[in-house]
Subunit: 211 residues, 2 copies
């Protein structure tokens, strides 16, 4: 019944005292630090514990295994991306197609650029089977926000807003990482934004029936 894996990734115990709350925070921060300085392959539970100033045993009191550490960081990251899309959608209610396309693409790209150092490391974790639920959650938030946005577009009505929202979400969440894996020099980010906006506009224009 249900997903038998989730419980293993849930924090093992909730901190009740100030000392342990500080401990959990320190471990979380240490995970990010080690991820950035040593990379995901050299990330070791002992190393994280040491960086956090505690022993391995303590780490395992709050996180059931190594993956749970990385999941916690990934969860925060994906949630930030979903939030960026949601905000952009809220800010563009009632706008026209071109503005919508530009707004959503720009917001997502900005959010990713803001945490561009950590993203590559996290996409390793994301591929592990059990990250699917997290990605699914972030994806759904984006889809729902875009769908609502399309309902209010000033330009026209769409046949199937949910399918369109699904496609646009898949394209930004999927394509941008692909762009990022390459050298991604200064100007490339600008070019990516321009091309994706053009693409979204064309797609939206083709998908809506008479205004």
């Amino acid at each position: 019944m249900g997903n038998g894996l989730a419980p293993t990734l849930t924090p093992r115990k909730s901190p009740r005292q100030d000392r342990s709350i500080a401990t959990v925070d320190a471990i979380f921060e240490a995970t990010i630090q080690v991820l950035l300085s040593d990379g995901p392959t050299r990330l070791t539970t002992t190393r994280v514990a040491h960086r956090a100033g505690v022993s391995v045993g303590t780490l395992y009191q709050y996180f059931p295994n190594k993956q749970a550490l990385l999941f916690a960081v990934l969860e925060q990251h994906l949630s930030t991306l979903a939030e960026a899309v949601e905000n952009a959608c809220r800010d563009n209610q009632g706008a026209n197609i071109e503005t919508i396309a530009a707004g959503v693409v720009k917001a997502y790209l900005a959010a990713r650029m803001a945490q561009s150092e950590i993203s590559p490391a996290l996409y390793l974790v994301a591929m592990e089977l059990d990250a699917r639920a997290l990605i699914e959650a972030a994806t759904r938030r984006s889809e729902q926000a875009i769908e609502a946005l399309l309902f209010g577009a000033s330009d026209g009505r769409f046949n199937d807003p949910y399918v369109i929202a699904q496609t646009l979400t898949a394209v930004i969440f999927g394509t941008v990482p692909a762009f990022c894996m390459r050298v991604m020099p200064h100007a490339a980010s600008v070019e990516a934004e321009k091309q994706l906006t053009l693409m979204f506009s064309g797609y939206l224009a083709a998908s809506c029936k008479a205004a």
Copy 2:
């Protein structure tokens, strides 16, 4: 000077005798088998060696480390995808925009569906830093094929065919995996093809100057 990592992933020695050629093939096949049956996390060098009917020592005579095993499989997979795009481009020389969009999307999707069982496992490997070169190579093949295709389009001339080819490649190589991570039921693949084709057509139409 140059990429210091590549040599470590190169086969350690080239097989000279029939026996060793058979050994290398067996190890390669065993890697795929274990990947499919046990998943990337439970893939063990000992397990692969055992499945191939040799000892661990023998495995390490031809592959310098565990990653090299997975790289070999990933390389073959990416090469198949690039080839699919190249073929589709060759077959659509001189076609119009809509046919081009449909042809490229369809070819890539078909190639991925054909090896859909192994893809998820491989995208774990792909994220490891040193897979960048392989992805870059497959991406460039696709970009060049699409660029050449655009030059011959019957519909119109494009301002910057390379940028367009780059964008389309990023979108198919990036988005389709995103689609695949979700349940991807029977009909979803058809829908993905339809939506991506629509998107490509709109984008191409918007990017070309007067016919």
